[in-house]
């Protein structure tokens, strides 16, 4: 039952993706509202899936890599629904849908939904630490999406090759403001996640700590570079993409390693 909800959710994101591709191919106006509602519906199915899974497990559903990917996709959709309309970045939905679709399709297709018996009893601090860190990843994912949008728009402006998408993308300065805010939001949440990790009471796994601090330092360095104007906006946008790719790889590696051998 819970996987069916996830499939329904994935189909919603797939619909938004197909609609975007068709609109781009036919050169017709793309209504951000459609993507917003498609992602909203997909989010409801995701929430239902996570709720059912959480009740079944008796804890926050972050016990294996499959759940981690779904929770990450849910966080991305959540942050998009919260900030997309506020910053008038409706087209972000067109970029967000493929990311969420890819995350969930991978989660559904890969043999990673393995029941994992937790060695630790349910712990509110641990669950807070895990869930807030995942939501931070959602903010970083959207900063990455905004970074892609920035680079696409910047490339068109530099090369003077104006395509149909140019008119739909937000102005560079608005995109850069959104990137900066998403970075700060993600960094603040990630910091809270890191700090809460110290209150879980259990032994702190060294590898996880090193990786988590490496991600934290990477994003901290981007923000510091932005604050001190060491990096041009284009470089910040590129670093957001790089940092998120690295962070997801680290996340996957941590979960993979922790499931194969104790860390």
């Amino acid at each position: 039952m819970d996987r069916q909800l996830l499939i329904a959710s994935t189909l919603c994101f797939f619909t938004a993706l197909v609609r975007t591709l068709l609109a781009t191919r036919d050169g017709i106006s793309l209504h951000g509202r459609f993507n917003f509602f498609a992602i909203g519906l997909g989010f409801l199915f995701q929430t239902a899936f996570l709720t059912i899974r959480g009740h079944a497990l008796g804890r926050c559903p972050l016990t294996n890599l499959f759940e981690v990917f779904v929770f990450l996709a849910w966080s991305v959709a959540l942050i998009y629904l919260l900030i997309g309309p506020a910053y008038r970045l409706s087209l972000m939905g067109a970029f967000t849908a493929p990311l969420v679709f890819a995350l969930q399709t991978f989660a559904l297709a890969a043999p990673i939904d393995v029941a994992h018996h937790s060695r630790l009893p349910a712990n509110p601090w641990l669950e807070f630490h895990a869930s807030i860190s995942m939501i931070a990843y959602g903010a970083f994912a959207l900063a990455c999406v905004a970074g892609v949008m920035y680079l696409v728009q910047e490339r068109q402006l530099k090369t003077h090759q104006i395509h149909s998408i140019f008119y739909r993308l937000p102005p560079l300065t608005n995109l850069f403001a959104a990137i900066t805010r998403l970075l700060w939001l993600g960094f603040a949440l990630y910091t809270a996640g890191l700090i809460s990790g110290f209150f879980t009471g259990g032994p702190l796994p060294r590898l996880k700590m090193v990786c988590a601090f490496a991600v934290w330092l990477f994003y901290g360095a981007i923000l510091q570079g932005r604050h001190l104007r060491w990096f041009a906006p284009k470089r910040v946008a590129a670093l957001c993409i790089l940092a998120f790719s690295a962070a997801v790889s680290v996340l996957w590696a941590i979960n993979f390693v922790s499931q194969t051998r104790p860390v």
Partner: protein, 353 residues
């Protein structure tokens, strides 16, 4: 009762011919002179069209004579005539901007609304024209929203403004420097000013000329020797001097950019020979456009609009069919004469515009 349209436009006549009919004629006089039950004149800079509804056929010559206020007609061949469904389709195309000189321009919709409002207020637009124009406005709205017919700027000035908006978003706080006092830079500055730019600085080798242009664009003149330092502060540079060699090179701009790393600089170089070295475009945060690239974007936009004509025609065909289905022979609605219960002011609410 049948619908007809008689008109003259940029497709059929030059401006010197069109201007003879451009003076606004009274719709009352037109109705009295031709015997139409309903009449509406749509005058724009590219067309003069009469939309009418009558029980019997009204000759094109009668309408043209009324428009010309003359018994002799010299340009009858320049006038076209559409009847019934063709008239409906023509109006929908006109109001949607498909028949405009600049395809997809949006001014025509406002002009049509104004013409309709005048005819409605004076009682010359009756139930048939009312429904026809309301449907035309809906069709135009859909063509705009469902296609890309209005996308992209098609003149150098408007391309520059559009690019500025895509770089900066809100232009109200942006600072503009006009380097040189050319006509195109003045037009571009005016276009930027119309989008809210208030800080416009003008510099020229002749300070007097700079002051004159500054007064025209409501900016202020700065000494020519300071133009390079101004580049650290401004957001948009419009250059149009008659210098033989590039004035702005990476060597000059590089130290200034360090002070403005996270603020983009948009440079519009409309001088020939160019005032800005092309290598400047390679620098981070600098977006350089010369006259060729601006014209090329305008041409791309126009081509994009042309590609959208078919999609627009499909939407219009749907509306023509809907109008025909609802009003049968395109005259059924007129069975309620103006002032009767079926056709009162409430029916013709101005709010429907």
């Amino acid at each position: 009762m049948s619908l007809f349209c008689i008109g003259i436009s940029h497709h059929t006549a030059k401006v010197e011919t069109r201007e003879r009919y451009a003076l606004r004629r009274s719709e009352e006089a037109l109705r009295a002179g031709s015997g139409c039950a309903e009449a509406l004149i749509l005058p724009t800079c590219n067309r003069v069209e009469v939309y009418g509804a009558a029980d019997s056929t009204i000759g094109t010559g009668e309408i043209v004579r009324c428009l010309a206020e003359s018994e002799t007609i010299e340009d009858a061949g320049a006038f076209y005539r559409y009847e019934g469904e063709d008239c409906v389709r023509h109006l929908f195309r006109v109001v949607s901007g498909l028949d405009s000189m600049v395809i997809g321009e949006t001014e025509i919709l406002g002009q049509a609304k104004k013409a309709y409002e005048n005819a409605r207020a004076s009682g010359n637009a009756g139930p048939l024209l009312h429904r026809l124009f309301q449907r035309a406005f809906r069709a135009a709205k859909q063509v705009r929203s469902r296609t890309e017919i209005t996308r992209g700027a098609v003149s150098v000035g408007s391309v520059a403004v559009e690019l500025a908006v895509k770089i900066f978003g809100d232009l109200r706080e942006r600072k503009v420097l006009l380097l040189g006092a050319g006509e195109t830079s003045e037009r571009t500055a005016r276009a930027l000013s119309s989008r809210g730019v208030t800080d416009i600085r003008v510099t020229n080798r002749s300070h007097e000329r700079a002051e004159t242009l500054a007064a025209v664009v409501r900016g202020h003149a700065v000494p020519f020797g300071e133009w390079a330092n101004q580049c650290a502060e401004i957001d948009i540079l419009i250059s149009s001097t008659s210098a033989d060699e590039p004035l702005l090179t990476p060597g000059i701009l590089s130290p200034l950019l360090r002070e403005r790393l996270d603020r983009p600089l948009f440079i519009i170089d409309i001088a020939v020979p160019r005032d800005v070295a092309p290598e400047v475009n390679e620098m981070d945060g600098v977006y350089l456009y010369d006259i060729d690239s601006l014209q090329s974007i305008a041409a791309q936009s126009l081509a994009l609009r042309r590609q959208q004509i078919t999609a627009g025609e499909e939407i219009i065909a749907e509306h023509v069919s809907a109008f025909r289905a609802r009003y049968g022979q395109l005259g059924e609605a007129a069975k309620y004469p103006p002032g009767s219960a079926g056709f009162d002011e409430a029916t013709l609410r101005a709010s429907e515009l």
